[in-house]
Amino acid sequence: METLTDERIKELELKANEIRQSIIEMLLEAKSGHTAGPLGMADIFTYLYFHGLKHNPKNPEWEERDRLVLSNGHICPVLYATMAHAGYFPIEELKTLRKFGSRLQGHPHRDFLPMLETSSGPLGSGLSQTVGMALADRIDSGRSSDRTIYCLMSDGEHDSGNIWEGAMLAGKEKLQNLIAIVDRNNIQIDGFTEDIMPLEPLADKWRAWNWHVQEINGHDMQEINNAIGEAKAVFEKPSVIIAHTIPGKGVKEFERKFEWHGKPPNAEEAAVALNELRSLGGQISGYHND
């Protein structure tokens, strides 16, 4: 994976900013949904859909595509927003989030949006699905497969035994075509992860399951790029990237507050958030000051 140029980083950061704006707009319209997680993962989703992922928005069924499974389905506003910006469906459709008849169900559902790799929402089961995908890929293409299977998952869902089961199997099977990206934002619904159910030492747990482990700043495009590149270069093990992120990233008022895990902004809060995003945190003059 080549190093990103400064220009490319700037492009990706601006795209992530647009996606964050869409997240705020769709949540405002939906009047329910999760805010912190989607904002926190906007950089990683942007990197993947606009740089790292082998995919074709005009042909979602393309057999040779990489597979991206979102395990913690509740952060789907970032998945939907990124997919829309990448060209899978009209950006305007984002405003139908969580509404009756919408393809954008409150938690992802393939019946409504078949281009999704899986339906998700109940926590803890995405990693194992990607383990199954990686195993199937190995049966078909051997260990020189050119497809990468990505699992995007949360830290809180490590409480679930299903994650441990999937991680152990992937380690046993040395699934080099599998990359898990953990959103290490330290919050879950009831509070901070280390108060609810301590996960640390998290990296050591993954090492013990025989995974290649990297820890990165999940908002730094260059670090994300380098980590994916390194993960792809590891042949003997599956790879996990523990991405340290700030929940609510991009909107100062929301950042690091677990109260924003499961609620949408109201009109006033959304205006503040959009203003902050459109002015790039006050660096340029906003155009949403009304």
Binding site: T118, S125, Q129, L135, A136, D140, L169
Partner: protein
């Protein structure tokens, strides 16, 4: 009289016996030979569930999951997403017993053609005791949209059901039993998912006085009961209901019209089981008196298969009594 397509020795004392799960193992091997998309996953019970036949032939298409049934279901879902047709096996108590939500969400909700084989179902598991006797599995599987539920009556039917399951696009639950039970069907007996079959009819075109609908291991008991009833002048019709879902409503409603009274027989909780499925259908279409043979809201225990069938009132004599009782309730 017994259907001519069935084993003519079925009432002999020394009728050939095989465990129902054996037919599953044989069927999986045959299906695996015919379709390279088929993969096998097991949660540390490969030989018990008879998956070893497939594993030995196709080691590269077999995955040992370990004692992790939630992983069993979710990994299978992922493999199905890549075009595989996964068969997953464990004891019914653990799969679908332990991994219900994973089956619902990642397999059925996702519309993935995973085939779930739950072995050692029913109280006939015997000495292992109540922890290992799944008598709730059909209830929890049949409430899941899209899920097909099959409960074969013998090893041969299990083999055919397994081969048929491999060819459907639907997720399927196949219920298997541990102990040897008589071979009732033959190679000639037709099998089709969703089709109920008449296994016993009154002699000489006489009208049946009651219908018995039975599934799984107890089909033999129902046939013996039908024969005994005929000897005392009571004619019944026996339907083998191998597919619990989708229910063959036409056959069931016609049976109700023809007999006016029905006894259902299953090695499962009465609540939510096959009898319940019939009652749901008949209450809406053609209500008739119904008696339920099954486990009545209690757990199993250790014992031999025959001791337990007797204790939980699923024996031939219990079926005969239920037929007499239901006939009294006819209008």
């Amino acid at each position: 009289m017994i259907d001519p397509n069935l084993n003519s020795n079925v009432f002999d004392e020394n009728v050939e016996q095989q465990p129902i799960r054996k037919g599953f193992g044989e069927g999986l091997l045959i299906a695996g030979e015919a379709d390279s998309r088929i993969v096998g996953l097991c949660a540390d019970l490969t030989e018990s569930t008879q998956m070893h036949l497939f594993k030995n032939k196709f080691p590269e298409r077999y995955v040992q999951i370990g004692v992790a049934e939630q992983n069993l279901a979710t990994v299978a879902s992922g493999m199905a997403a890549m075009g595989k047709i996964p068969f997953i096996t464990s004891y019914a108590m653990f799969s679908p017993g332990r991994n219900w939500e994973q089956i619902r969400t990642t397999i059925a909700y996702n519309n993935r053609p995973v085939k779930i084989a739950g072995s050692h179902a029913g109280i006939s598991v015997g000495p292992d005791g109540g922890t290992h006797q799944a008598v709730e599995d059909m209830a929890i599987m049949r409430v899941i949209p899209r899920m097909v539920v099959i409960s074969p009556c013998d090893s041969i039917e299990a083999r055919k059901a397994t081969i048929a399951a491999a060819k459907t696009d639907a997720p399927v639950y196949i219920r298997l039993a541990r102990e040897k039970t008589p071979l009732i069907t033959t190679e000639e007996t037709p099998f089709e998912i969703g089709k109920a079959q008449v296994f016993w009819s009154p002699a000489n075109g006489v009208e049946p006085q009651a219908g018995i609908v039975v599934t799984g291991t107890l089909v033999i008991k129902a046939l013996i009961a039908a024969k005994a009833l005929q000897e005392e002048g009571i004619e019944v019709k026996v339907i083998n209901l191998a597919t619990i879902k989708p229910l063959d409503e036409e056959t069931i409603i016609n049976l109700a019209k023809e007999c006016g009274a029905i006894v259902t027989v299953e090695e499962h909780q009465v609540h939510g089981g096959m009898g319940g499925a019939l009652a749901e259908c008949l209450a809406s279409n053609y209500p008739v008196p119904q008696e339920f043979i099954g486990v009545n809201d209690e757990f199993g225990q250790s014992g031999t298969m025959e001791e337990l069938w007797k204790h939980y009132k699923m024996d031939t004599s219990d079926i005969i009594n239920a037929v007499r009782n239901v006939m009294k309730r006819k209008k």
